[in-house]
């Protein structure tokens, strides 16, 4: 009985690799407008990511974490949220955070080693990237719980990778969410690797979605390179959460083409050939383009305009970022506590006294 558990979690797809609509579930909602919106956000994310990699290569930022290949998973899910909802990204989710309204300058600043990278624009509930893997799953459960207690209809969506499912916090978070029936969406980007560890060494289960069974919450598996599948399945989970019907687990199957981070060399642990093949067969951008072409939504000039606009905005953000030369050292001290605490104050004074003598 256990052996066929994964058959209960088929991979949900709306648009196949060739850009054909393989099911009609959301046919009426799939408009040219929606497709264009997706394209705009996705191409922006891709260009953002390439910019990040380049900036790192040029030494203009530090280590950078690329996500090329995961755009559909990130954008599709981020666009299912509304303003006021909470987003908890990992270090790889700048596609999602920028689509949800984070400051581009600040996202770049994060990788340039500035605390401002953790600060979202006023009114945007975007948490700083989670560094300790899976720990943010609990925070999202908590903010969701808070919104439920307040009686409003905000939801919390948290990103995490396949590797994150091994941590205890994943388990504790899903259990709390289930027990208190909170409006949280646990959005897993299964890109097949945790740094060098392939998923079959991370877990024996064939799907991540089936882990929802342990908590008796809905679990689904979607083609994470199909932005329509991602968007509508996430929306379904978001709507359920808004209506007080509790949490969901979504497993989005995807792939990162690049390295784990810019300090990592993927050829050490994986066949890069597979990445190339996947790009050819399943790339989320190409797929969307093909779909738009087949539907007659495609307009070359428009697409060029969109890309140009994206590049312009990115260049502006980079320029802004590079204006920031160095933080005021006072930020080290000023936000540790909300009150004056003498060791911190004394150390701050000593620090500036020393600096002024240099």
């Amino acid at each position: 009985m256990n052996t066929s558990i994964e058959s209960q979690f088929p991979t949900y797809q709306i648009i196949d690799g060739e850009g054909n609509m393989v099911n009609d579930d959301y046919k009426s909602e799939i408009t040219e407008e929606l497709a264009r919106k997706f394209y705009e956000k996705m191409i922006f994310a891709r260009l953002f990511d390439r910019k990040g990699v380049n900036l790192q290569r040029q030494g203009r930022i530090g280590t950078y974490v690329p996500f090329e290949g995961q755009e559909a998973a990130q954008i599709g899910s981020a666009l299912a949220l509304e303003d006021g909802d909470w987003m908890f990204p990992t270090y790889r989710d700048h596609g999602a955070t920028s689509a949800f309204g984070h400051s581009l300058k600040n996202i770049f600043l994060y990788w340039r080693g500035f605390i401002e990278g953790c600060v979202p624009p006023e009114g945007k509930n975007i948490f700083p990237p989670a560094v300790p893997i899976a720990s943010q799953i609990l925070h999202a459960t908590g903010t969701a719980w808070a919104d439920k207690k307040k009686g409003n209809d905000r939801v919390s969506l948290v990103y995490f990778g396949d590797g994150a499912t091994s941590e205890g916090d994943f388990h504790e978070g899903l259990n709390f969410a289930s027990v208190f029936n909170v409006p949280a969406i646990f959005f897993n980007q299964n890109n097949g690797f945790a740094i060098s560890l392939p998923i079959n060494k991370q877990m024996k289960s064939k799907t991540i979605a089936q882990k929802a069974l342990a908590y008796d919450i809905p679990g689904v598996r979607v083609d994470g390179n199909d932005i329509f599948a991602v968007y509508f399945e996430t929306k379904k989970a978001v709507d359920r959460a808004r209506n007080g019907e509790g949490p969901s687990l979504i497993e989005a199957l995807t792939w990162r083409y690049g390295a784990h981070t810019t300090t990592d060399d993927p050829t050490k642990y994986r066949d890069q050939h597979e990445s190339h093949e996947r790009r050819e067969k399943y790339d989320p951008m190409t797929r969307l383009e093909k779909f738009m072409q087949k539907q007659g939504y495609w307009d070359e000039e428009w697409a060029e305009e969109v890309q140009k606009d994206a590049s312009r905005r990115l260049d502006e953000a980079v320029e802004e970022m590079e204006k920031v030369e160095k933080s005021d050292e006072a930020v080290m001290f000023d936000y540790v506590f909300g009150t004056d605490v003498w060791p911190v104050e004394e150390q701050k004074q000593a620090f500036f006294a020393d600096r002024s003598e240099r």
Partner: protein, 331 residues
């Protein structure tokens, strides 16, 4: 003008309950969470009656998962609530260590104050009640070395309530340690309603000239007993209940040792790496020229808290403190 304040005699644990009740009434953002804090009223009855009074939405029995409790409470705190988390015994806080060390304590600093975590983590701690293994740890020093959290330890009912309310009103995480050995060791007068005892301030319990004695929590009684015995032998002791372990009350520490020139520190936690060393450092920093003898530390040993048939051998007692005082004054 004098204000008549009604007081009631209560134990330390009752004062904790009273403080919680006061703040649940006062501020609807306050929530209690933890294992068995609801219907059962806590394994030490610290939350007795509160679930009945305030309902399950505010006094919440959680699943058995400390990282889960602290981690979700961080989310609650960032989104408008003031969670007061009970860790059933301090020895069970370790599964939550990552959430405290990398999140609760850093979120304000990481976001330039955009998100904050007003949260109190309460935990009974220390030995002396013949509890099983791991239940008697004194791990305060793990938290005084953790930037972004305050550590508070009351030693009597009045302080317990006042410090607890101050902790709840503090905009940052506070670890509030309740010495279980003295949970019910006698009653004290506790004012009704809301009042605070300032975090970061020690309390002089006895005025003296020859030696300064520092203690906190359950060790305050031990220190006082030793001081009284030594007075009989003509040694005059200045006894300070530190009450807050981070930030330490530097002023009172410097002031007393500059008067006496001698110091004895008493704590239950292992000697190495204990808060005692930080007090020694502060004395070194502030009062080097005043010191007339090496500072004595009377502490637990660098061993796990032993099984309870030996716990009285582990915990510093009055005799050990007296000897340390003698050593300090006869140097």
């Amino acid at each position: 003008m004098t204000v008549a304040i009604n007081t009631k005699k209560m134990t330390l644990v009752q004062a904790v309950t009273d403080g919680l009740r006061t703040m649940l009434e006062e501020d609807e953002r306050v929530l209690l969470l933890g294992e068995d804090v609801g219907v059962n009223g806590g394994v030490f009855r610290a939350t007795d009656g509160l679930c009945e009074a305030f309902g399950e939405e505010r006094v919440i029995d959680t699943p058995l998962a400390e990282s889960g409790i602290v981690g979700t409470s961080i989310g609650l705190a960032m989104n408008g609530f003031i969670p007061i988390v009970e860790i059933q015994f301090l020895g069970f806080i370790y599964p939550a260590f990552n959430q405290i060390m990398t999140h609760a304590t850093r979120i304000r600093a990481r976001t330039k104050g955009r998100f904050t975590v007003p949260m109190v983590i309460r935990a009974p701690y220390g030995a002396g009640v013949r509890a099983p293994e791991i239940h008697s740890d004194s791990a305060e020093a793990l938290f005084t070395h953790m930037p972004g959290i305050k550590v508070v330890v009351p030693s009597n009912p009045y302080d317990a309530k006042g410090l607890l309310i101050a902790s709840i009103e503090d905009p940052d995480p506070v670890l509030f340690l309740e010495p279980m050995k003295i949970y019910r060791a006698g009653k004290g007068e506790v004012p009704e309603g809301k009042y605070t005892v300032e975090i970061g301030k020690g309390n002089r319990l006895k005025e003296g000239e020859d030696v300064s004695i520092f203690a906190w929590g359950a060790m305050v009684k031990v220190a006082m007993d030793a001081a009284e015995k030594m007075e009989e032998k003509g040694v005059s002791c200045d006894v300070i209940d530190l009450r807050t372990l981070y930030p330490l009350d530097k002023d009172i520490i410097a002031e007393t040792v500059q008067k006496t020139g001698r110091a004895v520190i008493v704590h239950e936690a292992p000697l190495s790496g204990g808060v005692g060393s930080d007090i020694v450092s502060l004395i070194n920093d502030t009062s080097f020229l005043y010191m007339r003898a090496p500072i004595e530390r009377v502490a637990g040993f660098d061993t796990p808290m032993p099984f309870f048939n030996l716990e009285d051998d582990y915990i510093p007692d009055s005799t050990r403190v007296q000897k340390a005082i003698e050593k300090a004054v006869s140097f």
